[in-house]
Point group: C2
Chain length 179, copies 2
Amino acid sequence: MSTLRYALLAALHAGPLTGYEIVQRMRRPIGYYWTAQQSQIYPELARMTADGLIDHDVAAGPGPHDRKIHRLTAAGRAELAQWLVQPPQRRPPKDELVLKTYALAAADREAMRALYRAEAQKHRRRLDDYLAQQAQAEAQGHDDPANPKFGAYATLRMGVAAERTMLDWCEWLVLRLER
Amino acid sequence: MSTLRYALLAALHAGPLTGYEIVQRMRRPIGYYWTAQQSQIYPELARMTADGLIDHDVAAGPGPHDRKIHRLTAAGRAELAQWLVQPPQRRPPKDELVLKTYALAAADREAMRALYRAEAQKHRRRLDDYLAQQAQAEAQGHDDPANPKFGAYATLRMGVAAERTMLDWCEWLVLRLER
DNA sequence: CCCTGCTATGTCACTTCTGAAATAAACTAT
DNA sequence: ATAGTTTATTTCAGAAGTGACATAGCAGGG
């Protein structure tokens, strides 16, 4: 089973969603650490339905197709629970900025410094955004492990930590590249 | 041009290498933040040669094929320099452990706690390894921006920071999931 | 009334990436 | 001797992922 499948099972773990809603969630709460295009999601949902991991209610949709509200079956829930406790397979992170850094010596130093300054700003903005979301989640008690939204809160915390790490690293480079 | 192409140009920026040596480097110094299989690397090197970005000397190899020592051409070096200073395209990070965390509520709590404890240990080990490499690099003066190996040192520093972030996060979860 | 944007699903061509196998010389350890 | 590992390149089938397009109802602003 592909990781995409598990990502979709994970998306549905807290309640039924339409394919469209999953696409939206792949941008923010799950999307901090997983993404998929709708062109991947819709066919995969169909295959998972065929395999009995999910099923759906049908409702009249706005466009030419029916709205499908997907929900985990017992088999899907079992498959998810079993996968969750398995050690994750390490897929090495890919980051273009760090890759560029490796060959930094082959570019103009001042231009690279400007690049890190610009990236730092992007990370600062994203950090502020995540921090605001985190404060809101805490105000709603999501930081309690007994709360069903604790999982989403924990991934958000990872987002905050990762942004802070990137920001610090970019700022370190800006300082270090000073002539 | 695909990012793989730029990764290969970056790999060659400091001097000529064989395809095999690039495969090795994709595990450690570059590999902290970029990876590719040899089945991607060899055909891409051939295409890049056809496009005039790299060329190579030929030497007798151990196996049935000749050894090819690849080197950037002027065109390749120009292409690399131009790409380096361009803002990186954000490809969202994918991490199975964080994805699992999102659906944490669907699994047994003690089993999840054990998972984070095991992951914390992996990160602690990797952190120690990177830290040792970092100390060695500093002893050799790679932390000076004027040193040609400064780029590799900076990526290693990112590796250290990222491992520390993941370790802290895992330990936070172990504590938080205490009953 | 028209245009834009949002909801909602589905499809296609294409690129990228993974995993495995084939080949064979040279070196290392038993 | 011989067994196993490392060096080194090439190729292939298949899986995963990207980007763009098609369809169409409904809401809101100008």
